[in-house]
Every structure is written in structure tokens, then in C-alpha cells.
Symmetry: C2
Subunit: 686 residues, 2 copies
């Protein structure tokens, strides 16, 4: 038997490994051409043999022709990129998920409100800026309930720069930078505990809208339930977005006091309705629950009246009032009170069929579609009629708090009967609207009126077809569906229950994102893919054309600080590495490069406060390292060029391996070192 | 304009909603037949029109015939279930991911070492049992680096009962119950800080094997790097598994002291090799690094010698020695020291080509395949030869610690040249082995010898073909690939770098799980699917036939405690609800059912310690509720029948909405209530 692992080959392989790994970009075009059969673009002209081959696979797997077509419409050959990215909320996961369309593959989770270790998000020792930003009144609230993502817009088009998302559970709004797909800012609403109508943006992202939901005593106040109508209030907050800084400008943000109805979803006007914000509400009954006292439960008490109120808000007037100093400070935050909203003509109500969910502005800005879950119709409001009604003072009643209620007949353009449980509406490029029907478990396609009639050439304001989905669809998302120019093509049914759709994963099941092909129009609208979503329970999503994104492949310079999005002067450079001490404070300057850390040993004393800086000296795409210290709850993701600093107290003596947690090369397992914490009993820390 | 949301319809819809939602099982068979075109089983016989239709889609999307075939082999019609489940480690995410094969859809994340809010894992207030189980020496270590999942086995077959997985970063092992897919136990290794070779099981799951990796001073001790050879040690721990209790039995577990080489992957023998454990190692050089002192870095220092040591351990002899009281306590844990291992003939070494990664036992238990990443061959050891060499004392040398080293020529059956960077090997039902080639970025198929030669009827111990993958494959996983009877059919290439394969998701990219169709044998082995994995960086996975799983659809009884897996007498029953007080301790007994909590108001005083019990009174599959309290960092997942108790101090006054965080019905938004924390200033908490 010959020993084959002899020096010659070993060294040659070792060299190939180390050198070869330094240029992974070389994997690009060449290998793709060589490997990716799917990259060929010669037209297919199926031979009888190929048809027979395909037929055999279909019969072996019990697929029918529709299945083969659906498969061909969604399959992505190796290396081919999806056409759209769906940015989906993650619900109680607290995150955002990015999904490729039409393949419906989960491309990445973006950590927002919940620490996620593989991204190094929230595991950078004491005073981690992520954890600090998640604190509410001094308490770490390390999860969120993300609901409605909003892509930043320029002239009503998604511009691919920023993504905003709200945390219903804790009334927070996050800002994600779509260059590096990382959360950059989290703002806590100082008025309310939880929200719902976040986030929505105005057509040039002047403001990020955060609507409330469950009324409370604004500013984290207290009042017993008996004082609900007197002391509880709703609110909507307009967060000013500063594009240059890429941050919400809290100092120039303000809120509006609203009656204690439960405000639901919102949308900003565009085109003729630009300058307006529309917010649904329910529980205008102001039911305060109390099933334990023999009262009707909220589910019944909040559904008694036929009509709730659509809130119609002139945000430019509101901004003017705020700038004119008319806001009152609550918990230090400026709030335009109801009397100001009424006196300045900032807000009007319009009746809307009971317990609506979505209010959605058509791409041309002309109509607002309200879908009331307890009414089988959608109700269409016209901005022209709304403006005329306001100008003509067509508000014969006021609500209990004095807000003028526009006459229903004066503002409504149409009502369209669709089916049971309509919730939310999206649009395409052919003049159709699409509404989710929760109880019917279906997507309805229907015709818009006005200028859209010339596009579809069918009877306006009329149901065209319904496609059944499985099951209980909440929101739906169409390609570029919230912009002034939707793309059509694809629509996602965000189905809430999966029941029998997938293998049983214990009592906790995934959701089901179903892809509908809406390219044909008319009565054709097949479901072509079922995607289980077993990482959270998404609510809403937006779908952007992938080529609008300007994602960074690596950080622009070596030593980049993602928190500040600039080069950090503290980032250790090659040659600067070392460990220095000032009393019991230790500073570690480290670099990371395939396949070692420098230094490899860090010796400290028990009780030392250690500040540790690492620069990933890599510029090749995907050459990511990790860095963890066992037992110390520290894990970083060191993406190419990234600089990270963390601080911790070396309070547990012993010898702790640190290592690279991302498989970075064939010698990845060797990319490690030791933190030696000398115990006090052996003279450490004296 | 007629107001359509009038009482009649509203009430009818409302009733339909509430009643209809109470029986979601009704969605099952009927709707599937009506909706799921893919459920038809009539043989496909494509008409010319259908072929033309398919060809048009293919050409529109630039698909070739191979793409169409791959699409047809992987597409799952709506409602059709995958044939296999791949349980994959989640790497630095700390979790386990369950993926359906062949559709490669992520079915569910199972939270293990990292709190995950959508599952309600680690967000149950103070003293949450999950967070308690994650503490190490009193510090919460709320993430893990999961590497190697191991399905429980009976007679060498996956039995579908349990799943084990190790945390490399913190040397922990978790036990997951595959009835409800939840983590039930986490044990911390008391000897070492980090591990690697976990988890692997013996053929009847007698023991769960946790091998180490980076040597340290056992028992969390300290020694400076100069004393590496003297005081640092490796280890392997054998955790006894108690099937009846479904828990690791720590009191009957023990460890073996090993030299300070870096032990890597392990495997348990089966059939003729049952009773043996095999563990690879590298850095037998005992390089201690120190690039900062001018020493070679670990990556070079640990790769100098041609040969490392395969550790060959007789676990039944070890168990006998442990039971005979020969173990020494280190940090309270019994350890069989090296001198005992040598004296009792418990451990032998065999030379293995340098820096190996995987050691994999063939299904018949006859051979151990070692893949050394710096050697282009795999080396095949024979259990018969090993036994004969031990019996015949064919160990002409010892290592530095006195362990007998079996003569290489005496124990090796074959060496097979495959290519650059072989790492890990899997098996099929045709006598082939499959080895990942990290540097070649390829999967190699090669022939086994011995009794396997009659299966494939080709030259044994010989490369058959290689399929390129994209890129840098680490582990691979074949259907039932670690059992005594692999299934063939499917193999997953766990490719580590994605570079250009998917849309750029910022500097942090997903991994790429590539599905290979291995059903044909010979030189045919195409990649048929690329799955991005953007939720962590998996290392190893095991693939089980889905029909072996015995997953619960709902909890067996209303009031079930998943931590104990039995009915909990504390679970509130319908009619028991209420709030009681004993001094400053408040007990809340609550039920949750579509669509309300009972009670809806909970009034406490600032500073009260609140114990809150909730029973989900639901028995329909997928009728899951959530429960959160805004600002208090509490979120539960209340699966059908589940009981949860949590405790917290009401230290922040105010009025806090609680609500259901899982979209459970059309009146889901109304499923809420208020926690009123009366401030001390208003007489609360006095």
C-alpha cells in the first residue's frame, strides 16, 4: 500500500487551495458557461424523443400538463437570476424576507427587530448598537411583529434605495439600506405601545407613515378601561425621511391625535391625490371589550355598526400646522391635536363599510379602494369627489369628537361585489384590480373604471374572475403593485393557513405564498407555485423589479463601518494588529483574511474590559468570515471589507477558542485562535 | 348610491366567518380535488398543441430541454407533499431547517440555540425555561453554531423519532422531538468550550456522540499557550440517550480524554463495526499558532505532517470501564483518562492522510471512508483488518501520549483518487459512494468494493464520474444516506459559496443547496435544482423518507405542556378563567379561542409579579394563536391545545394592548385585550 498523501501532492493541493481561494470571482462567467446548461439560449424545438422523455418524467411523478407549464414558468436554471424581488414582512419573526420571483426561493432574511446570529446582528458584546437600538424605556425588546414593508419611492416609483417596516407589537419603524441589505435605524414611537399601519410612504418618500391600531393613552399613559372614550386615543405619526443621511429625522417628525377608533392600514395619495393620506379604521363603536364582565368580546363589540370611518388627511396642511408650532408635546413628541385637525381642515372622515382592512390608491391616484372584510363589496372613492365634497362642505354629520364626516354618496364612485372577506387590493398594467378574499380563499380580478376602461375594454367596476387559493389569503402583492406603473405578470397570494398543503411540520405549520400568473388577463389567472413560509408569518410584501436594486457586492472600502456607512478610522489595517493595555482596559486590533486571524492569541486577565476591533481584509465577493468567542455570546459576520468593534468584560477565566464561523476556505477550520483569560487566582486581574 | 354594507349581509358574512372558521379541516380533501389540477393522475399524453404551448414558455424563458426535465423532476403541484425531508443544520443561525425534497422548499425552521420569536421560543418572560437552558455558567448564550444533525436510529435505520444537533461554538447538544418538532433539551458539555463532532448516534441511539475540536484545558481550565502539549486536551463525550424519557441521561454519560489534536468528524460503526466509533483528527502537529510572534499561523502549522490520526474507539469497552468506576471527575463529569484508554485497549490510532474532514462508515459497516482535504484520494479502512491488526498487535509506533498507532498498511483496504479537496462521503442503493470535492467544486461518484462490486458490476474502488457544482461544496447528504440501507434517488450538494448564482443580496450572500438526481447511476448525475439558503450557513444535513415521520398535527389534549410533553394540571380550562391576587403576586388564568382571549382586561399594579397561564382551546390543525404584550418582550406561539405559563414583573406602568400575533381568522385583529398597569403615583402597587 502506497501512502499517497506524500509531500509533493499535499503541498501542491495546499497551494492550490490557498491561492485559488484568493480569487473566487474567477468562478464567474467561465464556469457558468461550462456548467450551466440552462444558460444556452438556442430556441427549443422538442424532438419526439425529448417529448417522450418529458412525458415519462411527468407520468412517473403524476404531473399533468398544467403542472408542466407551471414548472416551466417558475423553474430557474442554475445561475439564472430571478426577475423580481419580493420584500416580505416576517410577522412575529421580526424580520424581512427577500424572495426571488418567479422561482419563489427565499434569497435572504434581513434581521430587523430580532437578533439573528448568522448575520452577526445583536451579538457584538456589551453596548452592541443593535441591542441598544432595540431597547424601549431601558428594557431590551428583542423581537418585533413586522407587518407592512414600504420601498422608498421617487415620483411614485420604487427607486430601490431604502426599505421601511413597522413593528406592530412595539410601535417601532425600521430603516433598511438596500445597498447592503442591513437595518440602519430603529425609531420607537413615543406615543403608543403598538401600531399597525406602518410603513407606507408618500410618493417621494417625504414621510414614512406609521398608523396606530389599538387605542391607548398617548405617551405611555394610564387610564382604566372605563375611561376609554375620554382618555384613550388613536394616532398617526409622520416620520420625516432624510434621504441624504439615509435616516428618519426624528426632530422633524410629528403625529396627529385621532379618535380612539382602531386605525388600520394606510396609503398615500399620488398624482391627483398626492398630498393626502388615507387610513381605514374599525371599532368606531369604541367597544372596550370585557367578556369576563359579561360584555360582548371585542370581536363582536367592534363589529356592531354598519359603517366605520375612512380617515382623509391633508398631510401638507398638517406639515404646515406642525411648522407653524401648532403641535402639543406629548411625552416630548409633537402632536397635532384633534381640535387643530378640525379647525385647520386637516382631516375629514368618510363612511366606509364595516371593519375594512385595506385602503389602496389606484396607480393613477384617482381612486381609493376600500375593502371591508364584513362586506362582500369593495367600495371605490374618487379623489375628485372627495375634493369637491370638502370644498362644498358636503358633511352633514360629525363624529363623536367633532370630525366632519363627508356624505357617503358625495364621495363614492362605485361599489363592486366580489365575494366574502375582501381585504386588500393590488393593480396591474392592464387596468385590472386584484382583491384578496379571506373567507372565499380566493383572488378576485375586477375591472377599474375611468381612464382604465380604455385599457381592458370591458365593463368597468365589475368582477372578471376568481382564482381559488389555499387558504385564507390576507394580503396580496403584485409586481411593482403599489407604484404609479405596475408591471402585471406576477401576483403573490399571501395565504395564511397551510393545513394540508405541505408535509406536517408538527402543530406549527408554515404559511403559503402562492404565485399567480396574471400575465394573460381575462379569466385566466392560474396558481403556478406554492411556497411554504416556515420562518414567520408575513403580512404584506412589495415586489420590485430586480434590476432597480443597486446592491453592493462587497463594502466599498476595506475598513467600512456598516452602522455609519463610511470608512471607520478605528479599523485596524494590515500591520497595525496587536494587543495593548491601559490599566484593566485592553484593546485588541485584529485583521481577518483567508485563512487566519492576526493575532491568534489574545491574553487578558480576569475582569479586564476588552475592546476588540476586527477588519475583514477581503475584497472578493462572498469572501465572508465570521468571528465567535465560545461561551461569551459573541458572533460577528465579517463581510468583505467590514469593520466591527465590540466590547466585553472577560469575567469568566479559562481558555476560549475563537474561530471563523463562516466556511471561508478549505483551511477554514484552521482559522482560529485562543482568548486566554488568566484567573485572578493565578495572578490575572490583580 | 346604495349603501351595501347593510345589516343583513354584514351579519350573514360575520356568521359565516366565525362559524366557517371553526372547522378548517373542511378545507381538506374536497377543496383539493376541486382546486388542485396537479392531483389528477391520468397519464399525460402530450398533444401537439400542448407541446407547442410548453415550447413557447421554454423559449420565452430561455429554457432548454435539460431545464424542462429538471423543472418536471422538482416541481410540486399545489398540495402534493415532498417525498423526503432534509433536516439541515443552520450553522451560525443556531437552528435546524427542514427542507422538502425534491422541491427544495424550506418547510420550517426549528429553533434550537437561538431564540426565535415567531415560534415563541425564548420570549416567555422571566425564567423562561428556554432561556434558562441556554445559560452557560450563569450567562445567557443566546445563539449557537449548529453543525451536524443526527436522526435517531433503530437497527441502523432512521426511525423518525428524535433529532440531535451540536453547537460548535459553545459545546452543547440539543434534543428535538419530531412529534412536535420542538427542542426539548439542551445539555452543555462541562469539559470543553467548543466542539465540532456533534452529533452522531450509535445504531440503536444508545449514545449521542459529541466530539471536540479545538483542544483546551478540560473543565474550563486555564493554561498559557506555552503549555499547550502539557495541559490542553481533546475529548469525546458519549451522551446516554434515554428513549423512554426522550432525554439525554446526563448521569449515565461520560467522556474520554484525548490528546490535544483537533478531533474532527465522527461516525459510529454498524454491522461488523458496531461497537466502534471512528473520529478524524488534524493538527497532530500540535501547532499552537502565534502568527503575531512570527510563528506560522494555524493554517500552516496544522498542515505540516503528512499524516494525522484516525481515532478508533471501542465504545462498549469504554462503557464497561466507566461502569467499573475507572473514570476521573473533571468539573464534576466522569472522564476516562488516556492511561485507561491505553491500558484497557479502548482506543487505537491509525494514520490517515493529512487534515481529513469526514470519516464515513459504509452501509454494510465494513469500511470507513476517510476524506483528507489535503490529499486527492479517499482512504478506505476495513473493519476486519482493523480488528485483525489490534488482535495481532500490528502497531509498531505510539503517538506522543502513548496511544498505539496501527500500521497503515495493515488496516487500509484501498485508496481512490477523486480530485482536489475531498471532504465527506455518502452512499446510495447501487454500491456507489459520493464524495464532496471542495476545491474541485464537484461531487464525485465512485465504486465501492467488497460485496458492493456485485451491485454495480464495475471495477471497484474507482472514480466513475464527477458533476460540477457551484461552488465549494462542504458536506453532501443522500436520501437515507447514513443508514444501513440508503435510498439513492437524491443527493444534496451543500455548496458554500453562491457568488453569482443568485441575485446579489448585499455583501452577505446565501449558501447554495444543489439537488442532484442520482437515480440513474453510471455517468449520469445532473444538478436539477439550486436552492439559496439565506438564513444561516448549514454544515451537514440528513435526509429521511417523509413517511417515517410521525408528526403531530395538533397537541394530543387541550392543555398540553410541550416542555414536559404531557397534559399540565395548571392549564386553565374553559370556565376557569380569571385574575386573582395574593399580595403583590397576580395569577392570570386565560383561554384563547377564535377570536378572543378570556379575559380581555387584566388590571394589575405597578411592581406586581404576574404569572400568566394560557390554554389554546383549539383542536383544528393550523388553528394557531400567538400572544404578545407590547413593550414587555413577550411573545408566545399557542399551537392547538398548547398550554404556556410565563411570569414577569409589571414594572412599567401604562396601558398595554395584548393581541394574537398569528392571523387566526377574519376577526383576528379583534382578538386582543389590555394589560392595565396602574402606576404607583395613582395608587397602584401601594
Amino acid at each position: 500500500m502506497k501512502r499517497t498523501a506524500s509531500t509533493g501532492i499535499g503541498v501542491a493541493v495546499c497551494m492550490a487551495m490557498v491561492v485559488g481561494m484568493a480569487a473566487p470571482e474567477a468562478f464567474g462567467q467561465d464556469t457558468r458557461r461550462r456548467r450551466g446548461a440552462g444558460q444556452e439560449v438556442r430556441p427549443v424545438d422538442l424532438t419526439p424523443e425529448q417529448v417522450a422523455q418529458l412525458t415519462k418524467v411527468a407520468n412517473d411523478r403524476r404531473l399533468n400538463v398544467d403542472d408542466l407549464l407551471a414548472a416551466a414558468k417558475t423553474f430557474m436554471p442554475s445561475g439564472r437570476h430571478d426577475e423580481y424581488v419580493l420584500f416580505s414582512s416576517g410577522g412575529q419573526s421580526g424580520q424581512v424576507f427577500a424572495i426571488g420571483v418567479p422561482s419563489m426561493r427565499l434569497l435572504r432574511s434581513i434581521a430587523v427587530f430580532t437578533p439573528e446570529s448568522w448575520q452577526g446582528y445583536g451579538f457584538a458584546g456589551d453596548n452592541d448598537p443593535v441591542l441598544e437600538s432595540l431597547k424601549i424605556n431601558g428594557r431590551l425588546v428583542s423581537w418585533g411583529d413586522t407587518h407592512h414593508p414600504a420601498l422608498s419611492e421617487t415620483k411614485g416609483e420604487y427607486d430601490g434605495d431604502w426599505l421601511f417596516i413597522g413593528d406592530k407589537a412595539n410601535a417601532r419603524v425600521a430603516v433598511i439600506d438596500l445597498r447592503d441589505w442591513e437595518t440602519k435605524q430603529i425609531v420607537k414611537n413615543p406615543l403608543t405601545v403598538s401600531d399597525h399601519g406602518a410603513a407606507f410612504v408618500t410618493p417621494n418618500t417625504e414621510y414614512v407613515i406609521e398608523g396606530g391600531q389599538y387605542a391607548t393613552v398617548l405617551g405611555y399613559g394610564y387610564a382604566p378601561p372605563e375611561e376609554y372614550q375620554k382618555h384613550y386615543r388613536g394616532m398617526v405619526t409622520l416620520w420625516k425621511f432624510d434621504r441624504v443621511r439615509g435616516r428618519i429625522d426624528e426632530a422633524n417628525s410629528f403625529a396627529l391625535e385621532l379618535p380612539p377608533y382602531w386605525q388600520d392600514l394606510a396609503d398615500a395619495g399620488k398624482g391627483p391625490s398626492d398630498g393626502w393620506i388615507f387610513i381605514n379604521s374599525f371599532n368606531v363603536e369604541m367597544a372596550a371589550g370585557g367578556v369576563e364582565r359579561g360584555n360582548p368580546p371585542f370581536e363582536a363589540g367592534a363589529s356592531k355598526r354598519d359603517m366605520d370611518y375612512l380617515h382623509i388627511i391633508d398631510w401638507r396642511k398638517a406639515e404646515a400646522a406642525f411648522k407653524a408650532g401648532k403641535a402639543k408635546a406629548i411625552n416630548g413628541f409633537p402632536v397635532l391635536m384633534l381640535d387643530t385637525l378640525i379647525a385647520d381642515g386637516i382631516m375629514y372622515f368618510a363612511p366606509e363599510p364595516k371593519s375594512p382592512h385595506g385602503v389602496d390608491v389606484t396607480p393613477n391616484g384617482q381612486y381609493m379602494i376600500v375593502a371591508g372584510k364584513l362586506d362582500p363589496h369593495v367600495t371605490v372613492y374618487s379623489i375628485d369627489k372627495i375634493k369637491a365634497a370638502i370644498a362644498g362642505k358636503k358633511h352633514s354629520t360629525k363624529d363623536a369628537y367633532g370630525v366632519p364626516v363627508l356624505d357617503f354618496d358625495a364621495v363614492v364612485e362605485a361599489q363592486v361585489e366580489l365575494g366574502l372577506g375582501p381585504l386588500h387590493t393590488q393593480f396591474d398594467d392592464k387596468g385590472y384590480a386584484y382583491t384578496s378574499l379571506f373567507l372565499d380563499s380566493a383572488v378576485a380580478r375586477w375591472t377599474l373604471g375611468g381612464e382604465y376602461a380604455s385599457m381592458h375594454k370591458q365593463t368597468p367596476w365589475k368582477l372578471v374572475t376568481k382564482t381559488p387559493v389555499q387558504y385564507n389569503i390576507g394580503h396580496l402583492a403584485a409586481a411593482e403593485g403599489d407604484t404609479v406603473s405596475p408591471d402585471g405578470k406576477y401576483l403573490i397570494s399571501m395565504s395564511k393557513w397551510a393545513v394540508d398543503r405541505f408535509l406536517t411540520t408538527g402543530p406549527l405549520l408554515p404559511q403559503n405564498f402562492q404565485l399567480l400568473d396574471i400575465s394573460e388577463g381575462g379569466t385566466t389567472m392560474p396558481v403556478i407555485y406554492d411556497m411554504p413560509l416556515g420562518v414567520g408569518e408575513p403580512h404584506y410584501a412589495q415586489m420590485i423589479k430586480a434590476d432597480k436594486l443597486k446592491s453592493w457586492k462587497v463594502y466599498p472600502e476595506i475598513g467600512w463601518n456598516p452602522h455609519t456607512q463610511r470608512l471607520d478610522p478605528r479599523a485596524p489595517k494590515k500591520g497595525d494588529e496587536g494587543v495593548t493595555r491601559d490599566g484593566s482596559r485592553v484593546l485588541v486590533k485584529m485583521t481577518a483574511v483567508r485563512s487566519h486571524f492576526f493575532p491568534e492569541h489574545v491574553e487578558v486577565n480576569e475582569g479586564d474590559v476588552v475592546t476588540w476591533r476586527i477588519t475583514a481584509i477581503e475584497s472578493a465577493q462572498d469572501a465572508t468570515h465570521g468571528f465567535c468567542i465560545g461561551g461569551y455570546n459573541i458572533n460577528l459576520s465579517l463581510e468583505p471589507g467590514e469593520f466591527v468593534e465590540f466590547t466585553f468584560t472577560a469575567d469568566r477565566p479559562g481558555t476560549y477558542p475563537f474561530y471563523c464561523t463562516e466556511f471561508c476556505s478549505a483551511l477554514h477550520l484552521e482559522m482560529m485562535g485562543y482568548l486566554h483569560v488568566k484567573p485572578r487566582s493565578l495572578g490575572g486581574g490583580e
